[in-house]
Assembly symmetry: C2
Homo-oligomer: 460 residues x 2
């Protein structure tokens, strides 16, 4: 009868959690989540630095490749008009790379939406928890006010009416004491009152950050998509300036891709450490932030048979006091009403109050039970550690694919544009095979040009 | 302090719900969800039939287009070796159509995973509800057994020990009566006992169907992806037999796409009707299936301030009886233990039982409260009516894109293959521009062929 099956770390969490971590001196760092410790921060920064290294290496590779291509190409036989062999291969490898990039963009959109889903699950769980906590406070306040009102008005009236019979006055005073005891016990149940941490605020902060993260990724993905499409268009139209602009843009997007890869990898590693055993970290953090006792936090964060309800005693005492008030009111009704008919009205009103209070008490018991809040905790963890982490891994795959595709494109594009025919008035409108779909059909027969201005033809 | 914000119909639900529906005689059908009514079934079947009509029209269009192309092409000038104009346009429109198809496949994969997410959310909510319902039954059974055991052993021992003092025996008997009353009240709280409907079974059925639906879509998507890729390969290698096989496969996938579109549209329409006001339908269905009272079902399905807890009275009576037992035991401890020390052991054991029962009672109150089950209901509805419906709309978009792309490809492919050069030994290895990336680079210089076997060159 414990809590229903909650959060379990996924295989990805285990896998990422088992990767070795090291600080700047390359000393191994334990993989427990400790974002305050300098060593751990260094380990995460090292993951970012690895992506920087990857960027540097790929830039060096591209530079070396292009310099080799520019300076070391075999001397053309004098008078040879045909472009160097492998031109088609260059264009097609460029197109293939851009298509891989487009696949990566698709994966990136999916990953971005998955991450967004996970984070919105987290913030909706926080909102739900906030609702429960404020509902507890309000309910306790409402019950206390109701009891206080009953003590001040009906019980006082009753005492005044029954003033002639001491034992009835004593019973009324007994009920008053019990009601005051209930109010006092209830006060201790509003455990979130005055706590400086607001899940609502946390949810709003998380949503705010996530909104900008989502937007940044959408912009990056759209930028890369535009670069891919315009590069394809440039290749198809053999437009040199478009290809040059897109080469520069590709370089920019390559840098952004490696940068986002570093951030994603570090976040994924940190998240996997957090997600492999979140309870301890969250418990400590919440204890520091809220100042609540361990018994209450353990009850809500663990919520199993081993942890007893910290409110059990208060609830039982309140419940007994309410039952006692009820039996005292019953006694009074039996004894007093025949003699003092004016006591009936306050007695009925008191019983009504008691019934409502008992109903509210059951609602309070339900709200205070760990089931609801623990389920929110599990949903928040699942959102963060399953959906968001999965989305992050998809984004990592996107960055990887796009870095590879852009590096290949950057190697191929200058070679491809070197193969473009020189712009001259007669050739500027002729187009090529690739450019055909982009031009208007010209149906009037034009005499065939012998030297077709295409560089993608391989000699046979 | 009501239930936290639950399910709200989305804009898509409203939009789809407002579409007009008609039966086979084209009489308007009200858009309330009524799957048992013949009229409503006819309205959904009409949606499927619309997709069939679309398939028929697109097949007729393709046939007319191809017949027109075959029979009515302008007579070639005698001796003209060059292919007809617009060949490049045909190939490129074919490639563009296949790329649109590939985009559709990406959207389809996303939609399939989204639908799967939604349905798994539904079944996990059902599993959670099942957990709560069985937990209530087990808890009630456990409490009743515990009370029964206490009545049979400790209270009987106590009566035997205190047999000399009649008023103490009377108090013990009072406690026994109260315990029996609690057990009887508890029995009425296990409201799901003997109910023939098992949410676990429903969840398993839903997961089973969803598994096959998911698999069928993945197979369809992979089939279409393979058709797209092999068609592109066939065009690139100018392989006539591959293009012919892929044309036939495209026809098959076109039929499957229109078929799935019909099913998706009908499901989306039905789901929107269900989702626009699910409470009434679900309430009636559950009432029929379970035979439970309206008060209980309203309490769990609506869970707002207006609906009172149907177990309130039983809970209050049990609570009062437990409090009475406690005060009687306290009285007995005060009165009896000094005179009968052997009464202490059963009294302590009884108090222990009472404490455990009161703890369990609070857990029962929490489980019985509508919050938990209503949250599961909301999660199930959100899974079905937000995620699954959204995924279904993505799948609809996939079917639409793929039907359009395949129809275009089917129009273009026969024209493209008619433009392929005839297979002859000298041309079979020569390839074309498109085929270049697929062939090994042949670096040895080969003399240029004048009549390049490509049909995608436009005369200038």
């Amino acid at each position: 009868m414990g809590a229903p099956p909650g959060y379990r770390p996924s295989a990805w969490v285990h896998l990422l959690h088992q990767l070795p971590r090291a600080d700047f001196q390359l000393r191994p760092v334990p993989s427990g989540f400790a974002p305050q410790e300098q060593e751990y921060q260094q380990a995460l920064l090292l993951v970012v630095a690895l992506a920087g290294l990857g960027l540097g290496l790929s830039l060096i590779f591209i530079a070396v490749y292009l310099i080799r291509f520019c300076c070391c190409r075999p001397p053309e036989p004098p008078g040879a008009k045909s472009p160097p062999p492998g031109g088609g291969c260059v264009t097609w490898s460029c197109i293939a790379a851009l298509l891989v990039g487009c696949t990566g963009i698709g994966i990136g959109f999916y990953g971005n939406s998955e991450t967004s889903d996970g984070v919105s699950q987290l913030s909706s769980a926080l909102l739900h928890a906030n609702h429960t906590l404020t509902a507890i406070d309000h309910l306790v306040l409402e019950m206390m006010e109701r009891l206080d009102e009953a003590v001040r008005t009906e019980l006082t009236t009753l005492e005044e009416v029954l003033t002639q019979r001491t034992e009835l006055v004593a019973a009324t005073r007994g009920a008053r004491r019990q009601a005051e005891a209930v109010a006092q016990q209830l006060q201790g149940l509003a455990f979130w009152q005055g706590v400086p941490l607001s899940p609502l605020q946390v949810a709003e902060d998380v949503s705010f950050v996530e909104e900008y993260r989502w937007l940044a990724y959408v912009l990056l993905l759209l930028l890369e998509l535009l670069v891919c499409l315009f590069t394809l268009l440039g290749l198809a139209k053999q437009s040199k300036w478009l290809v040059i602009v897109m080469t520069v843009m590709s370089l920019l997007v390559l840098v952004l891709s490696w940068g986002s890869m570093g951030l994603e990898a570090a976040t994924a590693v940190g998240l996997s450490d957090f997600c492999s055993s979140p309870d301890t970290y969250i418990l400590n953090l919440t204890r520091e932030e809220t100042g609540l006792g361990s018994d209450i936090l353990n009850y809500y964060f663990l919520c199993n048979q081993a942890v007893s309800n910290p409110f059990q005693q208060r609830l039982t005492l309140s419940q007994r006091a309410l039952a006692n008030i009820h039996s005292q009111l019953q006694g009074l009704e039996r004894e007093a009403v025949p003699q003092f008919p004016s006591a009936q009205k306050p007695l009925l009103s008191l019983e009504e109050t008691l019934n409502v209070t008992e109903g509210n008490f059951h609602q309070l018991v339900a709200l205070l039970h760990c089931r609801g809040l623990h389920k929110d905790y599990g949903a928040a963890l699942r959102g963060l550690c399953e959906d968001a982490l999965e989305g992050l891994l998809y984004l990592l795959l996107f960055s990887l694919l796009s870095a590879g595709a852009l590096a290949t494109a950057l190697c191929s594009l200058p070679r491809a544009w070197a193969l473009f025919p020189p712009r001259n008035p007669s050739a500027s409108c002729s187009g090529s095979h690739l450019s055909e779909p982009f031009l208007h059909a010209r149906l009037e027969p034009v005499p065939h040009l012998r030297s077709f201005p295409s560089c993608r033809r391989r000699p046979h």
